[in-house]
Symmetry: C2
Subunit: 294 residues, 2 copies
């Protein structure tokens, strides 16, 4: 099926995000082979020109292996554990980890890959399912400039790529992204709560602020959810506290005090403790209402 | 100069914001007369079809009086003090206060205006000088729906108007706006500081985040200032603490605890204490660097 002059890409983890990403790569003319723990997910991509592999060792045929496994530990296990993809990969090939993993994990993976002669890039994304479907992800890439430049035609099929620093920097940028999203959610929640309690119509206030200096993606998306009390996730609160916890742990390891992030983490932990972890993170507003019972 | 069938508007306070706003109203075909404490500012608008009045009592000719005086106390004095504009205004006319004033002041002004038979709307704006020049202000209007509907053709010449609630709600929405801007600034500062200390390139991180869920006007504008260390105001830190202080005082009067706003206020007070009040509020990042000296 694959012609010899097409770049061969192995794609590991074709779930909600990875599925459409693998399709975009096939659409862009790359020879994509998908591997998934649930083989039917990979098989389902066959009509879109994506081949299916049954084992990670099929990665030996790939010039580029992309991982979009959803969990950090699974990603680490599949790529570097027993019978790992990197055992099969050829020296000189490139491993692109697009899963969101801790900065330290990315740095460790980079070293391990290097020992096997494999180039390594951590390139997590922002933009969610919509960005994956539409090929408009924000891709934050950490690694060698030459490796990332060579990947540019591949990653361009998935979204907009920015080289943010050495290996680990992609994951760090993603963490910065998550921290901003979390803090902006709590901020919008406080502002809407103030408006509500002060006697204004919070839905109208949100609307009025669009296009001004207070505008943000969070005001648009999560602000609307707060007003409609639509807390079906989206981004469940239990994952949110993982992100804020990771950010604060990294900050602590660097000797950094982040006063806003500290309060944001506290609000989300309160949300999980008092309302469970399965509500969307925009439910921060109900935790703020709880601590501000009239 | 003014034809009888044009709506007559008195415009008080033709400074950096008010000047271009008065011009837009004249351009839109209204009969605008400007009054300013410095008469030359009003006279300078003559070439653009804006008449000049020497005293606030000229407001008697106006169906609508708009105030864009920069300070709350001056606004209160000119509109409701001795020889005030509202003494001259006709019953049934409308007073539109577009200055940013405390919520309580707006409510009090609304009552005083009502006692004189004058309709009252508080309609502060977001969007700054650029929005005033381009006629793209976000206008947050508080008052009676019928009054605000009647003002729609007038305010449409200045930007996009949203009715956010009763008198005072416009000022409350503006406060929510300021609170979000202030919090987003501290948030972006924390995220960029984490990126910087963690070994990524903060300029590239900011760039990577544009278009994703972390995107905001503050990330774009103030984030760029932080990276370029460009702290020429803009929005001076000394005004910023006025806004956060006002928001916290209002919250306290409502029995509301706002954990993020509390930390944000603390950061900006630290900025003013340690670096003076004249830096742009995006200088929050240097205060965060100060409390996180290596």
């Amino acid at each position: 099926m694959t012609s010899n002059n097409k770049t061969r890409i192995g794609f590991i983890g074709t779930g909600i995000m990875g599925g459409p990403m693998a399709r975009h790569l096939a659409d862009a003319g790359f020879a994509v082979t998908a591997w998934n723990r649930s083989p039917d997910k990979a098989d389902a991509l066959a009509p879109f020109g994506v081949g299916a592999a049954s084992e990670a060792k099929e990665a030996r045929h790939a010039e580029i292996v992309i991982s979009m496994l959803s969990s950090g530990p699974v990603c680490d296990e599949v790529l570097f554990g027993p019978n790992a993809a990197t055992d099969a990969m050829s020296p000189g090939s490139t491993l692109v980890v697009m899963s969101s993993i801790p900065v330290e994990t990315a740095r460790k993976q980079s070293v391990l890959a290097g020992q096997k002669g494999i180039r390594y890039v951590d390139a997590p994304v922002s933009g969610g399912e919509k960005g994956a479907r539409e090929g408009t992800l924000a891709i934050m890439a950490g690694g060698e400039a030459s490796t990332i430049n060579a990947l540019e035609p591949v990653l361009a099929a998935l979204g907009r790529v920015t080289h943010v620093g050495p290996a680990g920097a992609g994951s760090l940028a993603k963490l910065a992204n998550q921290l901003i999203v979390a803090s902006n959610i709590c901020t919008v929640a406080e502002a809407l709560l103030l408006a509500e309690r002060g006697g204004a119509d919070p839905a109208r206030v949100r609307e009025a602020l669009l296009g001004g200096f207070a505008d943000s993606t969070v005001l648009r998306l999560h602000g609307r959810r707060m007003i409609e009390s639509d807390f079906v996730p989206g981004g469940p609160a239990k994952y949110q506290i993982k992100d804020t916890g990771t950010a604060l742990a990294l900050a602590a390891s660097l000797g950094l005090t982040l006063p806003i992030a500290t309060e944001v983490d506290r609000i989300f932990r309160g949300l999980v403790d008092n309302f469970g972890g399965d509500l969307d993170h925009s439910a921060a507003i109900i935790e703020l209402r709880r601590i501000n019972v009239l």
